[in-house]
């Protein structure tokens, strides 16, 4: 038992590193300690699986705990913290009352208690070095990378006012007020001078983004309020650190040495550090964006570049003693647009999720360790006056600051900040790990009452995160704060936004004044002309349009929903040759059929036409779609008719070959680009086309007369609804609306930015499937199976691979590798198949 405890102590020492500058020395220490430990353990323990200095025989396995203990413990702690999060999230009725951050802190208490119980000392705690170098950067990077860019920049003025002036105000007033109270005698005798109070005020003014996000994410306040609180908390950290450093320097200098010159220097250094950090971040953002222009060939690690460079921007700023947090913040905010456009869609997703995992992971660890750190006898120096007054002052002065600054801002704001919003803003001033981290790096030599400050900081953190966190939600509801309106992505909205923007700038021009829109417009102009040229690759530049992006995203969503809904409704059952399901599809088909062919024809003619005048095409042609419509194709293929065994076999054989090909590749995701396969597909295609053409000529495959149908009418395709309200449903089959409900659910899908390189055209048509489209006709109806009744199914089947009616808006964007002549051929065959089509279809229906 004693050994165990010793082990634990030792490991704790190892995991909880001191400063990195002492790394070398520490290594020696570790080595020494390690050797001590091993010798000790050999002394006490006689079991054979421990390494012994002298080997008498060849050991089969060796117990090498001390080799791995540091990383092992780190990993174990990470696992423990994440398990805590898991436990917290088990019951949602609980987290809806107490915010998760609060729960995690409480978990931390328990864990800390366990450690204390085992060791009778605090062996694990959150070290500032670990916090600032390994836990904080990814949180800030994630927050800034996912920041709603436009909202952030359009409110940047207000955010900066709050972050800079508000923070200085808080730091100053809290420090001065505490000092005044101390002089007045409210805290008894403490060894704290006015400068130390100011230093304490500075570290107390850090509104913590982690705590703020954790609480506000669950509250769903309106977006302006959210961005104000969140942006402020993010930038405010940077400002706080700067302020802290300035006051720290003042404290080191000592009271008498501070004169006007030093104060001016302090102010200058404040601005240099803050703006220098921001500038460095922008520089890194430019670097990252330029780098992603050329990372196409190393797509697997593309996302890693951003993380590493982001981290480097943090470290570089730290190295230059600029504000690291501001640096990484601006790096993330500025580069997001360009890297999202430059990188492959997969990389963007990877980056997003990686950052989320890292940020959420470290957030969890921070909160747990904030709890664990509390269980330490040494830091608890209780001083009721000091603690209570601190809590009082930070709240009171925060309210005052926010109200005053908002009053100033409201004088010029287009949409003033409501009084309720202001209250929430003030109340949302949660203190968190940054304050704790800063308190923990206080130097005990300079500040004798460090432990009191640390303890007070912890109490303030618990108070704000737990108590304010719990009360925040009811408070927001009680105040009836405007909640976020979940606006769906609509083309109408996007287009009208654009119109409004243009209108406003035009009006400003007519008025001859430079308003907000003037700046926006000129920035946009500048961006389009120079910034995009510099930071985006040419492909991304071409498709860098908002409206078009929205259109693309909507189409993708539709396609996805179509597939899922199709699967749900029994297409899989149909593959098992389930009769009911097949009937459904037949009906559906019959309905679509009526006005579907004309669509296709017109689409295709448009396509033919377009291919020459579209310069973009060449870029897209060879792209494999970002969304693979495999299943989709599969569904449609299998929908239509009585499957005969031959077809089924053929299809599956083909498929299986596709899927069995070894798909693992160390550095590429894409498996469908096998040149052999493409070659094979091409050959098959040509052969089958030839066959279908021949058979059509012989009149084996009936088809519908196309020319009889009127040109397509777009009113027939309301989004996802069965086409024409006036159309009769021969089978009373109105409920076959599977995309109607899917369309309504389409908004749920994620809000990931579009990958512009994946132009819509490229995403729609997978060349790998084209051959099957064409082969289907002859294959399904081999001559020996051609019966009058069966024939009929063929014609629809030919249609099916095309977009169904309710996805019609996808159709015009088809741009495949198919050559124009193949289309002409298809047209020809269809035309020739026409005469017998109608009676045939009739048969199917009956």
């Amino acid at each position: 038992m004693a050994l165990l405890r010793q082990c634990a102590l030792l490991l704790a020492l190892l995991i909880v590193f001191s400063t990195p500058c002492k790394a070398a020395a520490l290594e020696v220490d570790i080595a020494e300690v390690g050797s001590n430990y091993s010798s000790k353990s050999t002394d006490t323990e006689t079991s054979t699986n421990v390494t012994t200095p002298t080997i008498t025989t060849l050991p089969i396995v060796i117990w090498k705990w001390h080799h791995v203990e540091t990383p092992y413990l780190v990993a174990l702690w990470i696992l423990t913290c994440w398990l805590c999060k898991l436990v917290c999230e088990l019951n949602h009725s609980f987290t809806s009352v107490i915010p998760e951050s609060g729960l995690l802190i409480m978990m931390g208490f328990i864990l800390g208690g366990i450690v204390w119980g085992a060791d009778q000392a605090q062996t694990f705690k959150l070290l500032p070095v670990n916090f600032f170098y390994y836990l904080l950067p990814q949180i800030v990077l994630d927050a800034s990378y996912c920041m709603p860019n436009k909202l952030f920049f359009s409110n940047l003025g207000a955010i900066l006012v709050h972050a800079v002036i508000g923070t200085c105000w808080n730091a100053g007033t809290v420090g001065v007020a505490l000092w005044a109270c101390y002089e007045w005698g409210a805290m008894g005798t403490l060894n704290i001078g006015p400068l130390q109070f100011l230093l304490f005020g500075a570290l107390m003014s850090a509104v913590d983004p982690v705590a703020v996000i954790a609480v506000f994410e669950e509250v769903h306040v309106n977006e302006v309020l959210y961005i104000l609180v969140f942006g402020e908390s993010l930038l405010n950290d940077g400002v706080t650190v700067v302020l802290y450093n300035v006051f720290d320097a003042f404290v080191s200098l000592g009271g008498p040495k501070i004169n006007a010159e030093e104060i001016i220097k302090g102010i200058i250094s404040f601005f240099v550090v803050a703006f220098g950090g921001s500038f460095l971040g922008v520089v890194f953002a430019i670097l990252i964006s330029m780098l992603t222009r050329v990372t196409k060939n190393v797509q697997v690690i593309e996302a890693g570049f951003i993380i590493v460079l982001g981290y480097l921007s943090y470290l570089t700023a730290e190295m230059l003693s600029l504000s690291a947090i501001l640096s990484i913040t601006f790096c993330g905010v500025c580069c997001q647009k360009y890297i999202n456009a430059n990188m492959d869609e997969k990389s963007v997703t990877t980056l997003r999720y990686t950052l989320k995992v890292m940020a959420n992971g470290s957030e969890t660890m921070i909160f747990v360790f904030l709890g664990v750190s509390a269980i330490d006898r040494n830091i608890w120096v209780w001083n009721t006056g000091f603690i209570l007054l601190t809590i009082l002052f930070i709240i009171v002065f925060r309210f005052m600051g926010v109200f005053f600054l908002n009053w100033l801002l409201n004088k010029t704001r287009l949409i003033p900040i409501d009084i309720t919003d202001q209250i929430v803003m003030s109340y949302g001033g949660l203190r968190g790990a940054v304050a704790y981290g800063l308190a923990a790096i206080l130097d005990e030599k300079k500040i004798p009452e460090k432990n009191l400050m640390l303890g007070t900081t912890l109490i303030v953190v618990y108070f704000t995160v737990v108590l304010q966190g719990i009360t925040m939600k009811p408070f927001v509801q009680w105040l009836k704060v405007k909640k976020a309106t979940i606006s769906d992505l609509t083309l109408n909205g996007k287009i009208n936004n654009r119109t409004f923007e243009h209108t406003l700038t035009a009006m400003e021009d007519i008025c001859g004044r430079m308003g907000d829109n003037w700046w926006t417009r000129h920035w946009k102009h500048f961006e389009e002309k120079y910034v995009c040229w510099l930071l985006m690759n040419s492909d991304a530049r071409k498709h860098n349009d908002n409206i078009f992006g929205a259109f693309h995203k909507l189409n993708l969503e539709d396609a996805k929903n179509y597939v899922t809904a199709g699967e749900k409704k029994g297409s899989l059952a149909f593959i098992r040759n389930d009769d009911n399901a097949s009937v459904d599809f037949k009906k559906k088909l019959a309905l679509d059929y009526a006005n579907f062919m004309p669509d296709m024809m017109s689409d295709m003619s448009e396509y033919d036409f377009g291919i020459d005048n579209v310069p973009v095409v060449s870029g897209m042609k060879n792209q494999i779609p970002s969304v693979s419509l495999d299943i989709h194709e599969q569904d449609r293929k299998s929908m239509p008719d009585d499957l005969n065994a031959h077809h089924l076999l053929e299809q599956h054989l083909y498929k299986s070959r596709r899927f069995n090909r070894p798909t693992y590749s160390r550095s590429h995701y894409k498996s469908s680009e096998n040149p052999d396969e493409m070659q094979e597909i091409f050959q098959r295609t040509m052969r089958s086309r030839l066959e279908s053409f021949k058979s059509a000529k012989m009149g084996v495959n009936p088809a519908k007369k196309l020319s009889k149908h009127p040109k397509k009418d777009s009113s027939h395709k309301p989004n996802g609804k069965p086409a024409d309200p006036n159309r009769t449903y021969p089978y009373g089959d109105e409920d076959f609306e599977y995309s109607a409900d899917s369309a309504s659910s389409s908004e749920i899908a994620g809000h990931f930015p579009r990958r512009s390189t994946n132009a819509p055209g490229a995403g729609v048509d997978n060349p790998a499937f084209i051959p099957e489209v064409d082969t289907s006709a002859p294959m399904r109806n081999p001559p020996w199976q051609t019966e009058p009744g069966n024939n009929t199914a063929v014609a629809p089947s030919q249609r099916l691979p095309w977009t169904p009616t309710n996805l019609r808006h996808l159709a015009p964007l088809r741009r495949s590798a198919r050559s124009a002549d193949s289309i002409a051929m298809a047209d020809a065959s269809v035309d020739e198949e026409a005469p017998e089509e109608k009676p045939g279809k009739h048969n199917t229906r009956l």
Binding site: T412, R413, L414, I415, P416, T485, S487, T490, L491, N492, G493, I495, N496, N497, R498, T499, F500, H502, T503, L504, T505, A506, M507, E508, D509, I510, C511, G512, R513, G515, D516, N517, R521, H525, K542, H543, N544, D545, I547, F548, F551, L554, E606, Y607, G610, N613, V614, V616, D713, S714, S715, K717, P718, N719, P725, P760, R808, H809, P812, L813
Partner: protein, 194 residues
């Protein structure tokens, strides 16, 4: 102060304008000065080519529509009174002003702002945005970035979204519905007109 009131006196129907648009006299004077600058020949009214002479406007892809919004159908000129009334559409909504149920709807109300935007699309003034009309606007705004067929499908899809009665056009009612969640007060207001 003296100069202010003397400028005000020169403007016809000032009280009425203040009453109707909600602009402060200072705003009206500022607009009047601007009006005089635009009206180079001093005729007391503006014609389309005066607007065309504003060089910043040249960059605007939908400038022709916006300019024509100043002119009521069949008229070639716009006087100061109408000019200010058009500008009043973009005055931010003031919440402090007590709501008088009897007073007519202010020019800068939500629905008037929407109407202004709507008529930018609806060039033939039939109360509906047809597919062609939408297509023209899209072509102006998206320009070279997308191909014609992409434009067409965007237009189709846009109409589908808003079109409730399936007449393949967007009526004003549908237009308003589609923008229900958009904060028009925010998006169709200019700060310095407050």
């Amino acid at each position: 102060m003296g100069s202010t009131s003397s400028t005000l006196l020169k403007i016809p129907n000032v009280e009425e304008l203040v009453q109707e648009t909600g602009f402060s006299p200072a705003h009206i004077i500022r607009l009047y000065d601007r009006f005089k600058v635009l009206d180079k020949e001093g005729r007391g009214h503006l014609c389309p080519k005066d607007f065309g002479a504003i060089k910043e406007l040249a960059m605007n892809p939908i400038r022709d529509r916006i300019i024509s919004a100043f002119f009521s159908p069949g008229k070639e000129t716009v006087d100061f009174y109408t000019f200010v009334k058009i500008m009043a559409h973009f005055r931010p909504v003031d919440k402090d002003r007590p709501k008088d149920p009897n007073s007519p709807e202010p020019i800068n109300s939500r629905s008037n702002k929407l109407k202004f935007a709507f008529q930018l699309y609806d060039q033939d003034k039939d109360g509906k945005i047809s597919r062609d009309e939408l297509l023209k606007v899209l072509r102006d705004m998206l320009g070279m970035q997308v191909t014609e067929e992409q434009l067409e499908s965007i237009a189709d899809r846009t109409i589908q979204e808003a079109d409730l009665d399936r007449d393949d056009a967007i009526s004003f009612e549908e237009f308003r519905k589609s923008l229900e969640k958009v904060n028009i007060d925010h998006k169709m207001s200019i700060r310095f007109l407050r």
